[in-house]
Structure formats: C-alpha cells, structure tokens
C-alpha cells in the first residue's frame, strides 16, 4: 500500500453518501438489515434505503433514545439494525441506551453517526460532533470505525454487517478526498501504511488522512521522510503499528477532527506509554467549541490542515 508518489488531491463522495449507497447494496442480499431513522434520512443518506426497502425502514421521529433501544430490540430478535443520525445526537442523546441496553449486553447494533467533526460547517457547534470517539470508545465491546473515504466506508459497512457485536461508524458531511482505489481491501483493526518513512510518523483518521499525505509531501521536499498511517479503526487500535512507528521513526503526530484530549491522540498516547514512549504532537480541536463557517474555512481556521500537520511533525522531530 505504501507509495512514495506525491498525493494527488481528488474528491470522491462524502462518507455519509458512501454509507447510504453501501447500505442499500448490502441489503439487496441480506434481508436481515433494517434501518432506524430520527428525521434525518435525507442527511444521513438512509433515505436511499428507505426508498428501496420501505418495509425495513422505521421512522422514529426526533427521538434518539427510543431509536437506540428500539434498534437493540430488533437486534435481539435477530435483525441487523443500523441506527443513524448526526453523530452529535445519536451518541449523546442515545448514550445511556448505548451503554446499558447495547454495550453491556453486547447487542449486535450498528450505530452510524454522520456530520462528524467541525467540517459539517455552517450549522455550527450544536450539530458538530467533536467528542464522538471519546464516547464510543468508552463503551466496552464496541468497534469504532472512522473511514477516510468512500472506498473505506464501503469496507466499514461490510465489516459492521459481518461482525457480531456493536459497531460505531463515523461519517462526514463534505465530499471526502479519495485515498484508496476502488476495491482496496482492509483488515479490521490494522492501520494502513499509506506512505513509508523513517523520520516521523503522521497518524491520521477521517478527513485528516489527506492532510497528512499532503504534509508528507511537503516534508519530503525538505528531506524529511514521513510515514503516514490511516487509522480507520479507532478501536480496537492497532497498537502494534503505533509501537513499530515509534521504534522506527522516533516521533509521531496524531491528526484528527476531534477534541485533542479525548480522541485518537489520547489512545495513541496510551499505546505508546504501554509499548514505546516517544514524543507526540497533536492536531485536532483544542479545548473549545467551534463556530459556523464553510467546511474548508473552518478546517483552515482551526488549523486542521497539512501545513499545521507538517509544522507539528517538525516539532515532534525536534523533541527526539
């Protein structure tokens, strides 16, 4: 997978769009897949499913707590339910239900949170999910997936269906830069090394994977060989790849569209502390809520871009 060719920024579908399409495709051959919606089907893209399979689509109204526990009931009777909403709503308003009625009895429910991060844009902080990794990772037994592009999302949906147990999939609103060629296969829980390098490792997820690749290119021009890892599986985390990166490159940057204190960066740091301590720099949302703006304008303003990732890499290297 790792290449040295410069990354060419090209946009594919939004991961929410890819989710909606993948779900329909999977449901053609799997009659057990059902969907629960809380009045956001046109945004989460489960309206595709609703159109194709109206009998397997359940409108819950704007009532996420009921939707999550209802999904658990469907799962306990053998269905494979996907409950979808904005990530900011399904994980917060449904959290207690996810804890007690899904995670604790290990129910086979699939939870999809769209419009994650700050790149939702103009709607502003009430709709932005910058704590969803923290919440989902706090649920024992949950898989937490964060696909970077449409190809990875299709794989994530297939994993979720095949896996017996609760899964959270994080999806985004804007069109996502293409990282993978169609048909690329992934191994659950295994980081993808997109770029080889021995000077520093850029650990990224979601929209920040493309930024990490662009950062690696600018670092290469300075003679710095940056390894890039796509962490599509936040939990279980590929601690082996993280530890190996620390051993072989000696410094890391973690980049994510999430609060820096409680997301992937925290999990990577824990893995490093267990296996191979190394300097780490963090790119993400600092201790605050964002604001309205265009998705690109917000990513620029809050420093979730390749130049900031590259600068963090230089800082991390300097701390070796």
């Amino acid at each position: 997978m790792a290449t040295t060719a410069p990354y060419e920024l090209k946009y594919g579908a939004a991961t929410r769009e890819a989710f909606g399409r993948a779900l329909v495709e999977a449901a053609q051959s799997n009659p057990n897949i059902v969907v629960c919606d809380a009045d956001l089907s046109k945004s989460t893209m489960v309206h595709y499913f609703a159109k194709e399979f109206p009998d397997r689509f359940f409108s819950c109204g704007i009532a996420e707590a009921n939707m999550v526990a209802l999904g658990a009931g469907l799962a306990m009777s053998g269905k494979i339910p996907f409950v979808a909403s904005f990530s900011a709503f399904v994980l917060t308003k449904g959290f207690e239900q996810l804890r007690t009625t899904v995670a604790y009895p290990n129910v086979n429910l699939k939870v999809v949170g769209t419009h994650s991060g700050i790149s939702i844009g103009e709607d502003g902080p009430s709709q932005m999910s910058i704590e969803d990794f923290a919440l989902a990772c706090a649920l024992p037994g949950f898989w937490v997936l964060s696909p970077a592009d449409e190809v990875a999302m299709k794989e994530a949906v297939a994993w979720a269906i095949a896996h017996q147990g609760p899964v959270f999939i994080r999806a985004g609103r804007p069109k996502a830069p293409l990282i993978y060629s169609p048909g690329t296969k992934f191994e659950l829980g295994k980081a993808v090394e997109l770029r080889g390098g021995s000077d520093v490792t850029l650990v990224a997820t979601g929209l920040l994977v493309a930024e990490a690749l662009l950062a690696a290119d600018s670092l290469a021009a300075e003679g710095i060989a940056a390894r890039v890892l796509d962490i599509h599986t936040i939990k279980p985390l590929d601690e082996e790849a993280i530890a190996k990166a620390a051993r072989e490159t000696g410094a890391l940057v973690v980049a994510e569209e999430h609060l820096v204190d409680s997301g992937l960066g925290a999990r990577v740091s824990q893995a490093l502390a267990k296996h191979t301590p190394a300097p780490v720099e963090f790119i993400g949302v600092e201790e605050r809520y964002a604001e309205s703006g265009t998705p690109d304008g917000l990513l620029d303003h809050y420093g979730l871009r390749a130049p900031q990732v590259a600068a963090a890499a230089r800082r991390a290297i300097a701390r070796k």
Binding site: A65, N66, A69, G73, M76, G78, K79, T101, P105
Partner: protein, 273 residues
Amino acid sequence: MHKTSSPEDLARIAKQIRRHIVEMTGAAKSGHPGGSLSAVEIVTVLYWDVMNHDPADPKKEDRDRFILSKGHAAPVLYAAMAECGYTPVETLKTLRQLGSIYQGHPDIRFIPSLEASTGSLGQGLSLALGMGLAARLNRSTSRTYVMLGDGEIQEGQIWEAAMFGAYHRIDNVVAIVDYNKLQLDGFVKDIMELEPLAEKWRAFGWHVIELDGHNIPAVQAALAEAAATKGKPTVMIAHTIKGKGVSFMENNPKFHGVPPTPEEVQLALKELA
C-alpha cells in the same frame, strides 16, 4: 412446568413466588421486595397461562417474550423463571452475591434465557417494540410483554416509545404498568404525579385496559383483550399494592428498596403459608 388456566392453581403458584421473594431478599440483605410482590399475579399468569414459551427450548423463535423493564423487581422474575425450570430454585437465595446468576438486576450474561438486561429505567418499552417489529417482519406469532414501573414512566423515553408504538401500529406488544403508587422516595403523587394516566396513554394512541393487578381472572381477561386488539398496542394499567401479600409490607414505602429482617422473613412466611 405445567401450564394452567385455573385461578386456584395460579394463586398457589403466586404464593410460592411470594415466599421466594421474601426469602431471597431477606437472604441477600438488600434488594427490592415491595415492587416484586406487587407484580406477582401478572408475572404468574404470563408464565403459567398466557405466554408461549418452553424452558427446555428457551430461544425458540416463535416464543413470546417478557421484559422486566422495572429491572429492580428482579426477584419476582427470578422466582418465576426458577419455578418454570429455566434456572435452579436451590440457588435463589444467592441473590446479589458475587458470582450468582441472580444478579441485582436481570443480566443476560448470567441468565441467557432472559430477554434483556434491564435496570436503567425507561428502556424496556423501546426494546419490546423492536422485538415486536422483528416479529412482524418475520411473520411470527410471537408477542412481547413488557412490565413498566409506575415511577419508571416518568422517563421521557417511555413516551417516545409510546408514540412510536401507536404510529407503527405494533399490536403484538403489550405494556403492563405495575401501578403500585409508590416509588423510591415515597408516593408517586408526591414525587411526580402520573394522573390522568389512562387518558395519557389513550391520547398517545394506545388501547388502555385498567384492572386490579392482583385479581387473577381480571389479569387473564385483560391479556385476552390485549391479544384480541388489532391495529394498536395495548397498555394494561394494573392497579396493585406494593408489598402485596405481607401485611406489614403492604403500602409501606420502606420496602421499596429495603429487605425484610430475618424476623420479618419468618413473620412473612407465616402469612404466606
């Protein structure tokens, strides 16, 4: 287990379940006897008369399901399931001990024949409606019964689920409110009044049956009426007495979450002889 529709037989079984509840919570030195005793007749009629279930084949697909949403009343469910043959009667008194299958609240990890792990109030109705939808999709005759506490329905999620059940016409689900008028801190009316309760459920689109939850023929008749009601879900508002069957526990708020002392256990067992 032998199924029976005889009110006399069912009353005998109910008395045995009450004895277990008193002994279990007494032995555990903790637990919720009052709200277990108020639910005895309903649970007994469901398990011995009404529900399609088989302790020898607990996961058969077309079984009827029972969810104790008011999970703190676990002793009544454990006693019934043990007497049915799902779990051992001999170890009922290990209730709440480390390693016991009889956990403080129903836990499907320890008793796989349970339909749900409960204990956090407000969630069982949603679960039941999910199971009802699944049965409908499967064209199964399976019906789901869910017992709610009266205090429990102060939870907002109950009313989200109530809207959902009526809107989707889920007529294979029956909610049963154990309306014993007491909750942890005292009388329901002094904490958060529910009345007019029947009108609330009717306004939400449910078929409502009010009954005396300790009158076995009344419980049987209500469950039959629920089964015959099509196109909407049914709620049975069962007027009950907290601590029912033991004179000094009846209507006594203390016995929501406090078990009987050893002396009180002996007194109670005499009354339940």
